[in-house]
């Protein structure tokens, strides 16, 4: 098996039910080594539930998981030593300094050399926090320290749940660069969940779209780019009449009405003139007609049938 194709995490029919709420509904996942997975979904889609199952904080109701090819309670527990994770808000010792937090983590992980603490703090830009207790840290600084805690053991698989929450624009860029750097230089596999889809688009190499506890789609960056279909963005004085015209005159239903009234037509991409003429003949006032493509955000909402 090629190293780059090695599956480091696999879920089969993974299900999690909380009383009457089905948080994860028989999901199947296969994460390959060396990729940066963007975990996409609305609040309550099941992203954090899936992460909790992987990290051992929660137990599946049904289905199975395998980490680095090993499954079963004991083996999964053992393999978790090879991963790093930050679930939701960073779990930090608030009365301790950044160095002391990492020292506690170093002791727990059994890392012999203390040098890793300074190096990791430098990596996340927290070298100069001195004796400042974590309770006095800003949200962004806590987020960085949470990432540092997850990175300390040089993990093979790093799970970051909303890692850019609370970061300022420069912090977001730094974390993005850090993920890329760690992925490319150390070959770390990432599973990153984020609500900021355009940000995720700049980091991820693969995407997992989750909706209401189900995996809607698992696709690579290339597949996404292919699927983020180009379309004709039509802006007229009457969106409803525009859709009727498209259906009756151009014989297509392959369009979508956006909240701002723009109609996205996915057909007739090579024949904009014909579209313009049809709209004009229907007495519509066309204020905009241009060729455009979906962003990751657009694609996601298109898939879940929202907005």
């Amino acid at each position: 098996m090629n190293g780059m194709e090695e599956v480091i995490f696999e879920a089969r029919n993974l299900t999690k039910k909380y009383r009457n709420n089905l948080a994860l509904d028989h999901i199947n996942l296969s994460l390959r080594r060396g990729e940066v997975y963007g975990f996409i979904g609305e609040n309550g889609a099941g992203k954090t539930t899936a992460i909790r199952l992987i990290t051992g904080l929660s137990f599946p109701t049904e289905g199975s998981m395998a980490l680095f090819g090993k499954s079963g309670t004991k083996e999964l527990q053992r393999q978790r030593a090879r991963i790093g994770c930050m679930v939701e808000t960073p779990a930090l010792y608030k009365n301790m300094t950044a160095v002391q937090n990492l020292e506690a983590q170093r002791i727990q992980r059994g890392i012999p050399n203390r040098d890793c603490i300074g190096k990791t703090l430098k990596l996340v830009g927290l070298s100069d926090t001195g004796k400042k207790a974590v309770r006095h840290f800003s949200l962004g600084m806590r987020q960085r320290l949470g990432i540092a805690m997850a990175l300390l053991n040089d993990p093979e698989f790093l799970i970051l749940d909303e890692p850019i929450n609370g970061l300022d624009p420069s912090g977001i860029v730094e974390i993005r660069d850090l993920i890329r750097q760690l992925n490319q230089e150390r070959g770390i596999t990432f599973l990153v969940s984020s609500h900021i889809l355009n940000e995720l688009y700049q980091t991820a190499t693969c995407y997992i779209l989750l909706h209401k506890g189900r995996v809607l789609e698992e696709l690579t960056q290339r597949e996404l780019d292919e699927k983020c279909r180009r379309h004709i963005a039509i802006k007229t004085n009457d969106a409803a009449q525009t859709t009727i015209t498209l259906e009756n005159n151009l014989l297509t239903t392959n369009f979508q009405v956006m909240p701002d009234g723009t109609v996205r037509l996915y057909d007739h991409l090579d024949n904009m003139e014909e579209v313009a003429q049809a709209l004009s003949r229907a007495g519509l006032l066309v204020t905009g007609l241009s060729l455009a493509g979906d962003s990751l955000e657009d694609y996601f909402f298109h898939k879940i049938g929202g907005r």
Binding site: R52, Q79, R80, A81, A91, L92, Q108, N153
Partner: protein
């Protein structure tokens, strides 16, 4: 387990709350006993007297339980161990060992200082023989195990509720219920069952140290076992 214990010890050493609570325990007890004749008692009598006034100290130990155990659950710092490949039982046992030792220190630091002071000032009260030393050794173990039993209440509460408020509050309520039962018409029965009563009875010699050791160990083992059982099955956030 060694690494988990080392981590818990490291956290304990850097916990400023413990130092503050230790000072508070000593000061609070000194204020409570100021003006009383306890300072003129022999070491042996001082032991009995101070055990009767352990209530306030137990409350402070409960607060420490809330901060230490409840805080670890609320901040999710206890879960680091799980994510480093350790079993839930090992993580909780390591936490229990360090917490119980620290909470027992809070419970018995003032009695120890008081007995030491009274013994040096007024003598022990009886002639010290090998038999007395053996009995004293038994009493110390009995008190320590009963302290462990009392401190296992915040542990169970922390595992069940996983926040600071209820981890602090529920053991305090339970302790007050214990005191109420000890003052009920059935005092004789309750005092031989409940750790708070056994603490006093062991100190004043009403029950044998062996009985105190057995009861303390059983209470501690039972409460810790329920805590571990609960934690092993808990859905953590």
């Amino acid at each position: 387990m060694g690494k988990l214990l080392h981590t818990e010890w490291y956290k304990f050493v850097h916990d400023k709350n413990f130092g503050a609570l230790s000072i508070a325990v000593v000061l609070f007890n000194m204020i409570m006993l100021s003006g009383t004749s306890v300072w003129d008692l022999s070491g042996q009598s001082a032991l009995t007297e101070c055990m009767k006034k352990e209530i306030a100290t137990v409350l402070l130990a409960c607060i420490y339980g809330g901060i230490s155990l409840g805080g670890d659950f609320a901040d999710r710092t206890l879960y680091h161990g799980l994510m480093t490949g350790r079993s839930r039982s090992s993580v909780l046992i390591a936490k229990t060992i360090v917490f119980t030792a620290a909470a027992n220190f809070l419970l018995f630091c003032f009695p120890f200082l008081l007995i030491l002071f009274c013994s040096l000032k007024n003598g022990w009260g009886t002639a010290i023989s090998a038999e007395h030393l053996l009995h004293g050794f038994g009493v110390v173990w009995s008190l320590l195990l009963l302290g462990c039993a009392i401190n296992a209440l915040p542990l169970l509460s922390a595992v069940c509720f996983r926040d600071i408020g209820r981890t602090t509050g529920i053991p305090i309520v339970l302790y007050f219920i214990m005191i109420l039962l000890l003052n009920s018409p059935h005092t004789a029965i309750w005092s031989k069952i409940l750790p708070a009563g056994l603490l006093i009875l062991t100190a004043d010699g009403t029950i044998s140290p062996a009985y105190g050791i057995l009861a303390g160990a059983l209470w501690f083992a039972w409460l810790t076992a329920i805590s571990i059982f609960t934690f092993r099955r808990a859905e953590l956030r």
